[in-house]
């Protein structure tokens, strides 16, 4: 139920569009000493950011003894023991990996379908009660998720969804972010193409499917990436609604792993690698969309 990444995109709204020439602050030529100092600071900061992750990967390829004896050396011997223990141990991490993929994919699809349809109506159709519906959706953006925690737990329990994939996919798709995000995009699309299609006799459904959705592909892709990351990284909600080990996703699974292998650092780090590689790869592929969804409005101006 948390939204670590999604609302980030809304930040775009805070950065006002600008028409001024963009660009770096231009001051006279800088002294080489200052430039060197600048790079030194940036490189040191980058190391602080990266080293824990490098260390996570290195440790995961060590034996337990090596991990404890030589915490900051290269793995010697290079060992896949940690991964072997993980895949054959009592903690079904491959199952968690699969559950995480399934849940994140399902929720993303659910958000794309429901939010795009709803956003089309809010952006393009004129109907009774529109302001009320839109106002209601927007106002819930202001409510912190903790308010929904207990009642949603009871609702999910009554639906018989506790400890199932439905608990971690469906309620989270009800958030207002997706529909808000896509509505903003749809409103910005030129209405002429749709009107031309309407004159050619196309109905709302055809216009939506054949004109609006293809035009909205970049926005849909961005929303898909953000939704996937969001669900993949969700922690509090799955910790409480998933109960049996075989139904866990990676995030609550990892916290179990930490408990089960407290001093087996190589195994714990291997688990962390398994959980972070997919999102880091996704970030590598879609980093432009992810970062620009945060800074988008400023660039668009």
């Amino acid at each position: 139920m948390s939204t670590p990444i999604l609302p980030a995109a809304a930040a775009a709204a805070a950065v006002e569009p600008v028409e001024q020439p963009r660009g770096r602050t231009r001051r006279g030529p800088r002294r080489p000493v200052a430039t060197t100092a600048l790079y030194v600071v940036l490189i040191l900061l980058a190391l602080v950011v990266i080293l824990p992750l490098v260390w996570m990967v290195l440790t995961s390829f060590k034996t337990d003894a090596d991990a404890i004896r030589n915490p900051y050396s290269l793995p010697s011997p290079f060992s896949l023991d940690a991964y072997r223990t993980l895949s054959s141990g009592q903690q079904p991490i491959l199952l968690w990996l699969w559950n995480s993929f399934a849940a994140a994919t399902l929720q993303t699809l659910l958000i794309l379908v429901t939010a795009s349809m709803g956003a089309y109506a809010l952006a393009r159709l004129d109907f009774a009660g529109k302001k009320v519906v839109f106002g209601l959706i927007i106002s819930t953006l202001l409510v912190p998720p903790v308010v929904f925690l207990i009642p949603n737990y009871l609702i999910v329990q009554n639906l018989g969804w506790l400890d199932t994939i439905l608990a971690i996919t469906v309620p989270g798709a009800a958030g207002a972010f997706g529909i808000f995000f896509l509505r903003q995009f749809f409103v910005g699309l030129p209405v002429e193409i749709e009107e031309a299609a309407r004159i050619d006799g196309a109905g709302d459904l055809r216009i939506f499917l054949q004109v609006v959705l293809p035009l909205a592909r970049p926005a849909l892709a961005t929303l898909a990436v953000l939704s996937f990351l969001n669900n993949w990284n969700d922690f509090l909600w799955p910790v409480y609604v998933l109960l049996s080990p075989e139904n866990m996703t990676l995030q609550p699974g990892l916290s179990m792993l930490q408990g089960a292998y407290r001093t087996h650092f190589a195994i714990v780090m291997a688990g962390a690698v398994v959980a972070s590689v997919p999102v880091l790869v996704l970030f590598g592929i879609a980093q432009r969309q992810i970062v620009e969804s945060v800074t988008g409005a400023a660039v668009k101006g």
């Binding site: 809304a10 429901t114 004129d126 009642p151 009871l154 922690f235």
Partner: protein, 331 residues
């Protein structure tokens, strides 16, 4: 539970555009056509509205109702008891009073300790990245990367880094001659240093890229004018950069305060709320009471009290900073 917050600004940003959707009005026909269009629109909205009603609207009301009852999962009929659960939270000596306010205090400490760093560090990094440098995009990517990781990964990796006996940080301290085994995750005040530090490592990249976007929106002519007036780097930072960033600053402080106030995973994974319950945050206590201890009614009441607190903090912050924004633009 990091960012409910961000959305609030989004809301403010949308409001003025609200009328933009009314294009269909020109096509308005008779009442029958209008009724058909309304039907069409609601068919498009139906799938979302079903989800929204079930998991957002209903629980908001249901939670309020639960907080006004003596809810027990072991009984079929729940009875209405008015504001007793709320009154208990404000009456010292009740079963929930001390623990709840301790958790609110822990949340407060974390907000006060983390927000200044989560604003200042990203601001400085963004200013550095906004200089004419090579590989600015690469640096930006690196600084943002931890933010895409889940809190569980962050907790595991840092749990290992910060481990008192075998953690790499204490190892490194030994190497540079500091022999103290710093209890990073088990004793105050170190637990706070760790929780804040880990959170900065994890989320500073988000604020950095937002500040960077804001910096790129500042008219470069202002810097040139300042330079002509003889302003150095420091002067132009305070007289051009900071005023130019005011709207972004409002956004970032609001969202960061709310994100920090919703902290859960870091404490859950790194300190397990300890030592004692010193780092058990409000969210942690509410989740534990409501979902593990079956004290759902008091927990629901607590979530509304926390909501009210956050609303007040956001409004005060918004008022204070908006005044500055307005004064700044009037000057």
């Amino acid at each position: 539970m990091r960012s409910t917050v961000t959305d609030s600004i989004a809301t403010a940003a949308v409001a003025p555009r609200q009328t933009a959707g009314g294009r269909g009005a020109s096509r308005a026909g008779g009442p029958a056509r209008r009724r058909r269009r309304t039907l069409t629109a609601y068919l498009f909205l139906a799938p979302f509205l079903v989800l929204f009603t079930t998991f957002v609207l209903a629980p908001a009301v249901y939670g309020l109702w639960i907080s006004l009852t003596d809810w027990s999962p072991f009984r079929d009929v729940q009875s209405f008891i008015g504001f007793s659960n709320y009154a208990d939270l404000f009456r010292s000596g009740s079963t929930t009073h001390d623990d709840f306010w301790q958790s609110m205090g822990a949340t407060g400490i974390f907000v006060v300790a983390s927000v200044p760093l989560l604003v200042v560090v990203p601001l400085l990094v963004a200013v550095l990245l906004n200089q004419r440098i090579r590989a600015a995009t690469t640096f930006r990517t690196i600084f943002f990367a931890p933010y895409v990781l889940g809190v569980a990964v962050v907790g595991l990796v840092w749990g290992y880094v910060l481990d008192t006996q075998s953690g790499i940080l204490n190892h490194l301290l030994h190497v540079v001659g500091i022999q103290a085994d710093v209890p990073w995750t088990v004793d105050t005040p170190w637990v706070w240093v760790s929780l804040v530090g880990v959170t900065v490592w994890w989320t500073a990249g988000l604020n950095t890229v937002i500040f960077l976007a804001g910096l790129k929106g500042i008219n470069t002519e202002l810097y040139e004018a300042a330079a002509l007036d003889g302003a150095g780097a420091i002067r132009s930072f305070f007289s051009v950069t900071l005023p130019g960033l005011r709207p972004v600053m409002l956004f970032i402080t609001t969202t960061t305060v709310l994100a920090s106030a919703n902290m859960f995973g870091q404490s859950y994974l790194l300190t397990v709320g300890g030592p004692g319950n010193a780092t058990r945050t409000a969210i942690m206590y509410i989740a534990d009471q409501g979902l593990s201890q079956n004290n759902m009614a008091p927990a629901a009441a607590m979530s509304y009290v926390l909501f009210a607190f956050l609303a007040v903090v956001s409004i005060v912050n918004f008022r204070l900073q908006r005044e500055r924004v307005e004064k700044g633009s009037a000057r």
